[in-house]
């Protein structure tokens, strides 16, 4: 391997420092006893204690988790179906529209997605009386809609790289197409489905703008709560919350990276 030029190495160092220094600082400040961020008031874990006693945060976190679990699961089911349809059925009526609708939600600005879904829910309510109130249900639907796009793309690209004759072989050996899907296709795309689920879960936990549009009074997701708090400035208990999230996520990603590396 050729040595990297000094320029490249320094840009890499700068880039990674740029990406990680803010995160490291948040973690450090979360153990700061002082209320003012930059004044070091000694080591303390009191903000974690306050975090756990803050019922608003806990409620919001619980709602967000419920939404994320539900929407990630529905998105994985629909996204997998869509991914299979796109990868395996080359021609069907409306395929262009279908694939356009699959990929568009990923790049659509959140304000537009949020606004359009809210207007849909309001119109639906006028016409049919459903949804009677906005909250868990409407946010879940919104998150499912944009997350299934990601699942579909992941599943589709996994299927594209998979040998199509595996499914043909199973059919050739007497497997009915539906059976073949359960015997061969699904087990082989399971890793892609898991990755898609995790991504959908994370996206749902992450979303602020869309949820702000389609939620009703009284239903605050975790990002909505955090946003309302940080609008007013830096806040120590948010530092503690951020630290928890950073540590959990980094631990998970690091672990799966190590496992993947050992396997190859």
């Amino acid at each position: 391997m050729k040595r990297q030029s000094r320029f490249i190495v320094s840009v890499l160092a700068f880039g990674y420092a740029f990406l990680y220094i803010p995160l490291v600082l948040v973690v450090l400040y979360s153990f700061n006893d002082s209320r003012i961020a930059t004044v070091w008031g000694g080591f303390s874990t009191r903000w974690y204690g306050e975090l756990l006693r803050n019922e608003q945060i806990l409620d919001a976190a619980f709602l967000s988790l419920r939404i994320a679990l539900t929407s990630a699961t529905i998105a994985t089911i629909f996204g997998t179906m869509a991914g299979i349809a796109l990868a395996r059925f080359r021609r069907f009526k409306g395929r262009t529209l279908f694939s356009g609708m699959i990929t568009s939600p990923m790049v659509m600005p959140e304000v537009i997605t949020g606004l359009s879904l809210l207007l849909l829910f309001v119109s639906l309510q006028q016409l049919t009386g459903w949804p009677a109130q906005r909250g868990f249900g409407t946010i879940t639907i919104a998150h499912t809609t944009f997350a299934m796009a990601y699942v579909a793309i992941i599943v589709q690209s996994r299927l594209m790289s998979m040998d199509e004759s595996l499914e043909e072989a199973a059919m050739d050996l007497g497997g009915h197409p539906l059976r073949v899907m359960f015997d061969i296709t699904l087990p082989l795309i399971a890793p892609a489905m898991v990755a898609g689920w995790l991504l959908a879960f994370t996206l749902s936990l992450d979303d602020l703008v869309i949820a702000s549009f389609v939620s009703g009074p009284g239903s605050n997701t975790l990002p909505m709560y955090i946003f309302s708090k940080v609008k007013l400035g830096v806040s120590p208990d948010i530092n503690a919350l951020a630290t928890l999230i950073i540590l959990i996520v980094s631990g998970g990603v690091l672990l799966s990276w190590l496992v993947a590396r050992r396997r190859t």
Binding site: S165, L166, E168, A169, D172, L173, G174, G175
Partner: protein
């Protein structure tokens, strides 16, 4: 039972493109039949229609007296060995082989017995619980073979069965396949682009181009009596001489060729008329090179000079330039060991062949 597989007027169109163009073919029970052709000639499409993955645009396919034209693959008693082998990566060798029987709801004991039989047949007994990624290419191929054979299909389809193996393994596998076929008496239909593979494996073969069969026959017939220019050039190398028919005699067609500078005699089943422009073809290994003029009157002798030569170990290749400028390829076995070359560039030589080694080519 004669005419075990009967393909009648089968075509397959993809849009405007005719991948297979009204093909007729009968294959007998127990035959090892090859379909040989370049990429895009329609051979794989034809095979996929036999397997049931494609439905013909027109025509019918019968297997063992049953019209299977519109039967889906999972209802046909036909199994296939895929080019990529398509061994299920998430199942052990054993489960791969048992898959087909499980779909038939065969009793467990019976499955176990037949899996054992198959493992023995393909000599994979020690590997039964391994996953495919722990097997070599040759072993994966044998899993694919066992998996297809365990259902005791009426016909086994093999898509480029040896293409993914290296040269040594290919030769060995070739004979293993022939032995297994012989032992089980199953009808094999092989698709391949490799002429050597088709020649050694098959009892009969078809050469395909542009969605049509160019010639069907035994390997020997096809090599020695190619029906047309495409077949002659696709299988092996061949020298052709343009000429005009001088006479149609008992012992062959007399053709005067300005390229050769002499009158040639050629065999041919085709009907030709006097004065017709045709081509006479001779295989390089049928031609001898000598420094002296051979004295056998039956032979065709032409004078030329050595244009180029190459030493290949077991044989040597010569390119001989005739007076007309025509280049003739000659292949000769190196029977004697010698360090010095027998011929040098620009040597004056004579090429000769038995008059009846040549055949007539029409197009």
């Amino acid at each position: 039972m004669k005419d075990f597989i009967r393909i009648r007027g089968v075509s397959k169109h993809f849009g405007d493109f005719a991948a297979v163009d009204s093909v007729d073919l009968t294959i007998e029970k127990g035959e090892l039949f090859s379909i040989l052709g370049g990429s895009g000639c329609g051979k794989t499409t034809l095979l996929r229609m036999l397997a049931g993955f494609e439905t013909p645009t027109s025509g019918t396919i019968e297997i063992d007296g049953v019209d299977v034209t519109n039967q889906p693959p999972y209802e046909r008693h036909v199994n296939m060995m895929f080019q990529s082998y398509a061994v299920f990566p998430h199942m052990s060798v054993e489960n791969n082989i048992a898959y087909g029987l499980r779909k038939e709801r065969t009793p467990g004991k019976e499955i176990a017995r037949r899996v054992d039989e198959m493992l023995e047949l393909v000599q994979l007994g020690d590997f039964r619980s391994r996953k495919p990624d722990q097997l070599s290419g040759g072993q994966r191929q044998r899993v694919a073979l066992a998996r297809a054979l365990i259902k005791q299909p009426k016909v086994l389809l093999l898509d480029e069965p040896l293409a993914a193996l290296d040269k040594k393994l290919r030769e060995r596998t070739q004979f293993e396949l022939m032995n297994i076929q012989d032992e089980l008496g199953v009808t094999f239909v092989v698709v391949t682009h490799d002429q050597e593979e088709a020649m050694t494996l098959s009892s009969r073969m078809a050469v395909m181009d542009n969605g049509r069969f160019q010639q069907v026959g035994t390997p020997k017939e096809i090599y020695e009596f190619p029906a047309n220019r495409f077949v002659a050039e696709f299988i092996g190398t061949i020298n052709t001489f343009k000429g005009r028919v001088a006479a149609v005699a008992e012992d062959g067609i007399k053709v005067y060729s300005t390229e050769a500078g002499v009158t040639l005699t050629a065999l041919g089943k085709q009907l030709v008329e006097e004065g017709q422009e045709i081509e006479v073809a001779v295989r390089p290994e049928k031609i001898f090179v000598s420094k002296e003029k051979p004295d056998d009157d039956d032979d065709v002798c032409i004078e030329g000079v050595v244009d180029d030569l190459g030493y290949l170990g077991n044989r040597s290749l010569y390119r001989i330039r005739l007076e007309s400028g025509k280049i003739v390829q000659v292949s000769s076995q190196n029977r004697r060991r010698s360090v010095t070359r027998f011929l040098e560039w620009e040597d004056k030589v004579w090429i000769s062949w038995r008059a009846l080694s040549a055949v007539v080519l029409l197009d």
